[in-house]
Amino acid sequence: MAQYILHKAESRGHDHLEWLDSRKTFSFGDYYNPKRMGFGALRVLNDDVLAAGKGFGAHPHDNMEIISIPLEGSLQHEDNVGNKEMVTAGQVQVMSTGSGLFHSEYNYSPSLPARFLQIWVYPEALNTDPQYTRMELPSALRKDQLYEFIRPGNDGSATTIRKDTWFSIGTFGKGPSIPYPIHQNGNGVYAFVINGSFEIDGRELHARDGLGVWEAEAITFRSLSDGAELLLMEVPMNI
């Protein structure tokens, strides 16, 4: 029988600094909640706002798959493996940090805040070569349907972080129920409402709420508002 855990937006950890406002679904930084240590292989889901021109200076990472999804504005990315580029709303950045890299991320705008989701997934193997990918999230392909942008295999249309992880995103008008079949036994799916409201398996979720579902073969979601945006992260429940 399907299992559920609901994380309401207001239950998240919160840090407010001069340069960063961060809401954390799971334990991160100074926010520690032993009941919020992740959802299967999904370990971090931070909802960050960077002040104009501010950002994260050069700092290291290793052995973590880090997905950044700008929601508003642009991030200026630079790392020590040769990548220097902008990542803007409508794109996604994927870093497989493997054996280790240093990077910085700054809000490119001198006048407006930048909002982005920072997502960390445990890697399947340790100490692999670091990799960096930036890809588009075409708005036409995620309107009233899910656009799969992370999945196993490498056909060029999506990126891969580990062989058993699928990420999808879509923007929906108020409408009928849509099924999402879970791809692999042992996986769970974490649904995060970016904007608007959804009903997922009979549970009502609003902006920035999250719902984890496991021991299920599928979920069904329905947008309750126009322009509602949903991110689905299907990950192994055993790390």
Partner: protein
Amino acid sequence: MIQILAVGYNAPIMEVVNRLIRNHGNWNGTIAQTKQEALARLSAGTYDVVLLCAGVTNEDEADFRQFMEAVLPDAKLVRHFGGGSGLLESEIRNAVDNKRTF
């Protein structure tokens, strides 16, 4: 004070981990940057948490676990994922909360 031995083979990252541990008011840290150095420190010191960082393989982890069962059975062996400060606090606190899970 929580006594931590951080083991990792990526020197620039271990420099950051060392700084993070030393700057924490409740932690006292020691760094080992080779397997041999880590085993020597485990033989000589007492630690609450042994933190495995960048470069440590699964085989090394198994060796450390086996060694610790003999010399430091009350210490907790945990992986530090992510390299920086993001998960460090919750990994250490969770390890101390759930100490001794060999």
